[in-house]
């Protein structure tokens, strides 16, 4: 029994020791807060088609990412986006998407996310994923973590399908812009796993 006590003490001490020793260091931001800020900031670079339902509120929908949603819930009520009051909607099913301008699908959503993304792609909605497989899921924007920064990649063909116009200001910040229609490539190579060991096949948008 003494060894199990030892194990427990060692574990707790590890957690405590490192917790206090480095806790005072200069702060970094929580990924959820940064993503929430991105979601609201993207709006100023997107032009939605006239066919997009006109509503009195600018709705950002979130699924599979409770922490990002919590952040937006704090942030959005104080903001106006495109001269409309901004609001958060936590969505579960395709029928929740009415009037939504931006849909964020977090990394924890799976099967349900697929049907949501499929439904949203047919609507003038800016779809944003956080998917290790990258843009292959069909979203317009995908978050990627590069070192300690959160970056994003943009698919122009997906934007075109959703009838969105993207300002070049957004493209110039993107880590990567996919310009060629995936066409056959998408059908044939949909099994391409996202691998950082593999150099990108699309044009790099360098940010020095």
């Amino acid at each position: 029994m003494s060894s199990s006590v030892l194990a427990r003490i060692a574990l707790v001490c590890l957690v405590c020791a490192f917790g206090s020793a480095w806790g005072a260091a200069e702060p970094a931001y929580s990924p959820a807060a940064v993503k929430a800020a991105f979601l609201h900031r993207f709006a100023s670079y997107i032009e939605w088609p006239d066919t997009a339902a006109s509503t009195d509120a600018f709705t950002i929908a979130v699924t599979g990412a409770d922490e990002v949603a919590d952040q937006l819930e704090q942030l959005l009520p104080q903001l106006k986006i495109q001269n409309k009051r901004a609001q958060l909607r936590r969505v579960e099913a395709p029928e929740d998407l009415a009037g939504v301008r931006i849909l964020y699908i977090g990394p924890t959503a799976t099967q349900r996310a697929r049907s949501l993304l499929a439904a949203a792609s047919k609507l003038p909605i800016l779809t944003i994923t956080d998917d290790a497989r990258g843009l292959a899921s069909g979203s317009v924007i995908n978050f990627v973590q590069v070192g300690r920064n959160i970056r994003f990649e943009v698919s122009l063909p997906a934007a075109e399908r959703s009838k969105l116009r993207i300002d070049s200001g957004l493209l110039s910040v993107a880590a990567r812009v996919e310009e060629q229609p995936r066409a056959n490539a998408a059908q044939k190579k949909s099994y391409l796993a996202y691998s950082t060991d593999r150099p990108p096949r699309y044009r790099e948008r360098g940010r020095s």
């Binding site: 590890l14 970094a28 959820a32 807060a33 409770d66 704090q74 099967q111 290790a132 920064n149 593999r198």
Partner: protein, 646 residues
């Protein structure tokens, strides 16, 4: 990701309660300022946002580019395009592994040396292999029955190959490396796939069907079977080691908000011919369940599995049966903005029953082995680009008790595209029944016996690595290692009377070497991947050692090996891929260096139908990879395959 758990033994209730208390405090403290953060962040420009630093979250494939270890990821793309049909053949694609085929179904695979030298009963035993979180090395001798391990190639997500110790996170046996085979989520494998093919060395067929069960659940089922022909002997006659196997399995997942559940299982049965000995039949089954709760900055996972395997030579009655029960918990979370903690605990029980026949006896023949571990690791962001990872695993095994395996890693993201890292870690291979309880008889008299005081084999490894992107078309990974080994297994004599011989721990020594690989996108349609590894071993007997069998008994390893993979896309429907590999001379017994080549041409006849022709071991009529007494040689082979999916 293997952790185990046993409440009564580890007093886990207490540990969990303590952790829950700690955790509750952290949540309260951490969340308040985060809402202040988002206000501040919302005023930033897009460009500023892209440059703010976040607390690191390491759980996806992406974060591998930031992992301070020598990791090579065999992608699904690589596996499919190489046309390989077995796990060991897929592992050849990793430049940091040493893969040697011995017979039709048997391989010697290791990282950083200490491979097989079968004539003195040395088998590669310092590698940990996991398939979807299930450990598959044999607890009887720490080696792997590769003929018992199979997966549906179509459904592999990736294979992570880590050379060097990975003991803190992965635990037992992760002494020289870890191989982590990860299959795809069932949500990613809808629809039907049928593959069928044949050639001069193999006939195989496989099928998978997957689909959704309502909005939140998905499943797949698969079945596969193959018949593999015998290797050759030197004179061109058959080595009579042909074998066949059938396997089936399933995976189902259900997600609800932050929670997800996974259940999966496999079952197989195989028959194998053995030249000059009894034929073998072996079978097995396993089932695994996992619950995972994910947040933006935390993840809790609890998993349990059961694995049964058995192997017998029906004509002479030798057999073993092994049941493994494993439970583990792993929790990772951000602590404040600087720390990323992973901790966990686990418990594993092996029950085995051996039918001892002939010269090799396990005494006792029936036994229960209980293993347990608890570990914690903290990744600390020292500043924007420097990260320190400190971890400790405590592990218990029935022979040598508790061992501590610490691990320290420092990584520096010198730029967006450059990572430099350094690591120091200690790892062990814990004693097995083969080390401690075996009795080998000659004429009914014990000739070699296990050593009840056998100690763990130990390594302290130091590594330095670079990983980066050069321009927009080249990625490069280079690492160097130095390993200080102690208590390696030797053969000792009984004082005064000499016999029986006994296993001991009287070898030590150093190894060092370099591993490197690159990806070069030569043109948009052509990618090249060269890789190379070198190994120098400098081993000595410790004082008091018998010196029997020489230090060469630690493994017959090549001093270097290299490979070059080429992937070409012609238009949208034609791919041509080639894989050239080189293995330097094996020293003792001596085996010449060789080059070998495989290639595959695939044509997408339509979006749902692919026709592929592969050639393996193309450079020689037949070649030897391992100089075994039987002298198996691997013949050139061809394989034609149709793949249909819908």
């Amino acid at each position: 990701m293997i952790r185990i758990l046993h409440p009564s033994r580890f007093g886990l209730h207490g540990a969990l309660a303590a952790s829950a208390l700690l955790h509750a405090g952290i949540l309260v403290a951490a969340e308040a300022p985060q809402f202040a953060q988002v206000q501040e962040l919302s005023r930033m420009s897009l460009e500023e946002l892209a440059n703010v630093e976040v607390t690191s979250v390491s759980k996806s494939a992406q974060s591998l580019s930031a992992a301070p270890a020598a990791i090579y990821v065999i992608t699904r793309d690589e596996i499919l395009r190489s046309g390989v049909s077995s796990v060991p053949e897929a592992l050849r694609l990793a430049p940091n592994l040493q893969v040697v085929q011995v017979s039709a179904g048997s391989y010697a695979i290791t990282a950083r040396g200490f491979g097989d030298k079968r004539e003195v009963q040395t088998q590669a035993n310092k590698l940990l292999i996991l398939i979807d979180g299930r450990t598959v090395y044999s607890p009887l001798f720490s080696g792997v029955f590769y003929d018992a391990q199979d997966i549906m190639m179509e459904d592999v997500q990736r294979i992570e190959v880590i050379s060097g110790p990975g003991a803190t996170l992965w635990g037992a046996n992760a002494m020289n490396g870890v191989i982590n085979i990860i299959t795809r989520s069932s949500a990613d494998t809808p629809g039907a796939v049928l593959r069928a093919g044949g050639g001069n060395q193999e006939a195989a067929a496989s099928a998978r069907y997957g689909g959704a069960l309502g909005e939140n659940a998905s499943y797949r089922v698969y079945a596969k079977a193959f018949d593999r022909a015998s290797l050759d002997l030197e004179d061109g006659s058959s080595a009579r080691d042909h074998w066949s196997k059938a396997q089936g399995g399933f995976r189902a997942e259900w997600a609800a908000g932050r929670n997800s559940w996974t259940a999966q299982g496999d079952a197989y049965e195989a028959e194998q011919n053995v030249l000059g000995a009894s034929d073998l039949s072996f079978s097995g089954s396993n089932v695994l369940a996992r619950w995972q709760r994910s947040g933006e900055s935390s993840q809790l996972s609890i998993q349990a599995y059961f694995d049964h395997s058995e192997r017998e030579a029906p004509s002479d009655g030798a057999a073993f049966e092994l049941d493994t029960y494993d439970v583990e918990i792993q929790h990772s979370f951000a602590l404040g903005t600087r720390h990323r903690i992973v901790w966990g605990a686990g418990k594993r029980r092996h029950d085995y029953d051996i039918e001892n026949v002939g010269a090799l006896q396990f005494i006792p023949a029936h036994r229960t082995l209980d293993l347990g571990n608890v570990f914690a690791q903290d990744s600390i962001a020292l500043n924007g680009s420097l990260e320190l990872t400190v971890g400790l695993k405590l592990e218990d095994n029935p022979y040598s008790g508790w061992s501590a395996m610490p691990d320290v890693r420092l990584s520096w993201s010198a730029s967006d595209s450059t990572l430099l890292w350094a690591a120091a870690a200690r790892a062990i291979r814990s004693p097995t029944p083969f080390d401690a309880e075996v009795a080998e008889l000659v004429g009914g008299t014990p000739f070699l016996v296990g050593n009840p005081n056998f100690r763990s084999e130990k390594v302290t490894a130091y590594e330095l690595g670079y990983r980066g992107q050069l321009g927009s078309t080249v990625t490069l990974s280079v690492s160097g290692f130095y390993g200080a080994y102690d208590d390696l297994r030797t053969v000792e004599v009984t004082p005064v009377v000499v016999l029986p011989l006994m296993w001991g721990n009287r070898m030590q020594g150093d190894t060092y070497g370099v591993e490197g690989w690159a990806n070069i996108q030569v043109t948009p349609w052509w990618r090249l991947s060269p890789g190379v590894r070198s190994l120098h071993k400098d081993l000595q007997f410790k004082s008091g050692a018998s010196g029997l069998l020489g230090v060469e008994q630690a493994g017959n390893d090549p001093s270097w090996s290299g490979q070059l993979k080429s992937f070409m896309d012609f238009g949208h429907d034609l791919t041509l891929d080639a894989f050239l590999r080189y293995m330097s001379e094996l020293p003792d017994p001596q085996q010449d260096a060789y080059f070998e080549l495989s290639a595959r041409l695939a044509w997408d006849v339509s979006p749902s139908l692919q026709l592929a022709v592969s050639g393996f071991n193309l450079l020689h009529d037949r070649h030897t990879e391992y100089p075994s007494p039987i002298g198996e040689q691997i013949p050139r082979s061809f394989f034609v395959e149709l793949r249909w999916r819908r």
